[in-house]
Amino acid sequence: MLIKRKEFLQIGSLATASMMLPKFLKAFESPALVPPGNKVVVVLQLSGGNDGLNTIIPVRNDIYYKLRPTLGVKREKTLKLTDEASLHPALTALKELYDEGHMAILNNVGYPNPDRSHFRSMDIWHSASQSDQYWNTGWIGRYLDAQCSGCDKPTYALEVDDVLSLALKGSQANAIAVKDPKRLYGTANEKFFREVLKNHKDHHDEEPVEYLYKTMAQTLSSADYIFKQSRLHPTNASYPKTELGNGFKTIASLIYSDINTKVYYISLGSFDTHVGQDAQQTRLFTQMSDAIKAFTADLKKNNRFEDVLLFTFSEFGRRVAQNASNGTDHGTANNMFLISGGLKQKGILNDLPDLTDLNEGDLKFKIDFKSVYATILRRWLNADADKILGAHYDMLDFI
């Protein structure tokens, strides 16, 4: 059946789905759209170095309040988790998830010999290298290499963004960065491009034009695939009209489809709060809370919450003492949120930071972030964690 692109886009999604894939008519009757067990990871990167101590607040710790006379969050304002620890007041959705038993918190996550430079530390988290190594592939990119040797659709990992992060760049494959599946589809389907690609026979030209053609080929086939999948059963839930909200909405729609994507990646920032921390962190946390609330509610309603693991990280935390500008400077270890209906362990999984045992004013890490990656790769994604990470890291038990 020949449908011109314009007509295709004008037809409503319901009609389209039913015309193209009649078997999915049945799917609308029952809530379970995709067989359970199709596990998916969503990575939420908090860019800029989120201040962990004002995220999970040690409300009974005098040192915290002494070193943060104006920046310390007053206990009455916080959202109580335990007697010792509370959440930042803007993270209301996370409080709910905690109370429901759908959230785990890891404290003091970091790595040896921490780097306090943004892009360097972010590269370390993305590549999973040691802090004195310079790798130009990312942990999710190498997962993609393992899943996708020679495949034409590197969509096992998707970044909801315009620019692809190092985390999703592999040595053979790059993931696709797509903020809007429809837009990418429109671009990729121009006749001229299809012809240019078809006419190109490789290994005659040298790098890097070859690199461009390879990227083009993958993009065209992936664009079709992603767009069609995104129209299969798009979510009709309501999401906040923020960049993050839209991103989560796209992710949800793809999760409900048949797409082979196992890892989604999305960012929020900037958390680099050297000056006037409170207002900024609060604004960002509000966006984050609202988006996560919509996303998790949507997943629960569609019985996919057990299969989705959402986790947050930041390239470093911040120093314990506040600075002279009502902000904080770059620090080291930080906490991570792990959110899912399928967690094995819930709540706060390890001790809060020990503020009497600092390293020149900075927190000491207790958990290497690569163990978190290893756990997720092995247990959630069934992948060869040691190979992907380049070394063995002991696993944790949250899943």
Partner: protein, 484 residues
């Protein structure tokens, strides 16, 4: 292999300038590249005029806000409006400088200024500071690196961007000293954390006044002894800069960066070492270094021709130089820069843009391929570019980092009036059967026979003019055209 003068000169123009204009196409066969380079040097001799975009309303509002009495008359809303005006002015500054890159005769100077702007990556939400720093890049782009380094280090834009106004005796802020060593002079692995801490003390008191002039606050300065890179003294910031310049590693680091930007991502270590020696011994004479690079035989080796991926700015400027156009929607050009991943005056972080293959992924490649068509048709830029991603080190005027705002729909129609007559006139003397080949030889520096075949099948042959137009646009819409 006998590379023609035309090919060598095209290569030279894409590297030492922002690409050939239609008028230059005739010259390309006449002169040797060494002679051609001399014309580029001559055209860049004049002092650049200061680019100022802030209008009277903004200037007055800004001056009012510096005056403690007048400031009180501004409500919170009005102050936020002034901030918005600042950001709008910076967008204008971006467009003005971009226009300069496209139209100026002083191509070499602007290309070097562009390089330094990428090297000394800086973001600031004060248009006056931006204007001053931009002028530093343009004024000193071909002088000596020592002067350039000092001017940049004392610029309000850089000092505030790297928080040095907060660096004071007893409460040091290491950011400025760290990035200075790591990114601007020595590079990683050539200093210790201790060096950074000590150097930071030397820079205490270095700040700028609200007019953007450098100011040294003696009361904030740590006058004690510092030990940096093995030397001890009661160093000031100037002393630290001298120490860094005296270190040959700085010459190596800068030369290497210049090589990867202007010659090839793959570095020839021997050549870079020689160039670094020359650079260091000449007192960091930039003009001399660039002359050596652009007139050496090795620069014109086939492995260096057509093997670099154009940066977004080079791509956009190059298109506009070849087919001159008027865009009546400023937003469209800014959005394009953002979508392709390079917005002038807005590097992603202090390390600047990594360049090379990192320009290319699924989305940026498709956008690049579509751009010529978008200029040609009255086309909708149907993309919603990321809001200013301001990650990592972005600062607002009040020092706080930016937060994503609710998504608007910044769609813009690209309405480009292309001066086709001027362009097609270049081909008046070319026989019909040679036109396609000639256009291809003007646009590409590598073999493009495959795409020529595709284009040949899709050209509009209804008239000679339509033929030239569609051939040009289609040839530009290829992966091959991304190379220079």
């Amino acid at each position: 292999m006998n590379t023609s003068n035309k090919l060598k000169n095209l290569h030279l123009l894409w590297r030492a300038s922002f690409g050939p204009t239609t008028e230059q196409l005739g010259d390309l066969t006449r002169l040797t590249p060494q002679k051609y380079y001399k014309t580029l040097v001559k055209a860049s001799e004049k002092e650049p005029a200061f680019i100022s975009v802030a209008d009277d309303a903004l200037i007055k509002a800004y001056e009012d806000l510096q005056d403690p009495e007048k400031r009180k008359e501004y409500s919170e809303m009005q102050r936020r409006e002034v901030n918005r005006m600042q950001l709008a002015a910076i967008r204008q500054l971006n467009l003005r400088w971009f226009k300069e890159m496209v139209t100026t005769q002083a191509q070499l100077r602007e290309k070097m200024a562009f390089f330094w702007h990428c090297h000394f990556a800086c973001r600031n939400n004060n248009v006056f500071y931006n204007q001053l720093l931009l002028h530093v890049f343009r004024q000193y782009s071909l002088s000596d690196f020592g002067t350039l380094l000092k001017e940049v280090s004392k610029s309000a834009a850089m000092l505030y961007f790297l928080n040095n106004q907060q660096n004071r005796k007893g409460r040091p802020n290491e950011n400025f000293a760290r990035e200075l060593m790591e990114l601007f002079t020595l590079g990683r692995g050539h200093y210790t954390e201790k060096d950074v801490k000590e150097a930071a003390r030397a820079f205490t008191g270095w700040t700028a006044d609200r007019q953007g002039a450098f100011a040294f606050k003696k009361s904030l300065h740590d006058m004690g002894k510092k030990t940096v890179l093995g030397q001890t003294g009661n160093y000031t910031g100037d002393d630290i800069l001298d120490i860094l310049l005296n270190h040959k590693q700085t010459a190596r680091f800068i030369t290497r960066k210049i090589y990867t930007f202007f010659v090839n991502d793959n570095v020839d270590e021997n050549i870079v070492n020689q160039l670094a020696e020359q650079f260091y011994n000449s007192g960091y004479n930039i003009a001399a270094l660039m002359e050596t690079i652009f007139t050496s035989d090795w620069f014109y080796n086939p492995q260096n021709i057509g093997t670099k991926i154009k940066s977004p700015i080079e791509l956009l400027a190059g298109i506009q130089r070849m087919i001159p156009m008027q865009l009546d929607n400023d937003n469209a050009l800014l959005n394009l820069q953002r979508i392709l991943g390079q917005q002038l005056l807005y590097p992603p972080n202090v390390a600047g843009w990594p360049g090379g293959k990192s320009w290319i992924d699924s989305s940026t490649l498709m956008m690049r391929l579509r751009i010529p068509q978008m200029f040609y048709d009255k086309d909708e830029l149907n993309v919603s570019p990321k809001q200013d991603d301001d990650i990592m080190m972005g600062r607002k005027a009040d020092g706080t980092a930016a937060v994503p705002t609710p998504v608007r729909k910044p769609y813009g129609a690209i309405n480009a009036k292309i001066n086709w007559a001027k362009y097609t006139a270049q081909y008046n003397k070319i026989k019909r059967e040679m036109v396609l080949d000639t256009i291809a030889s003007n646009l590409f520096q590598t073999d493009a026979s495959k795409v020529k075949n595709v284009v040949a099948k899709n050209i509009d042959t209804s008239s000679r003019e339509a033929f030239i137009k569609t051939a040009t646009i289609q040839l530009m819409s290829t992966p091959e055209y991304q190379m220079c």
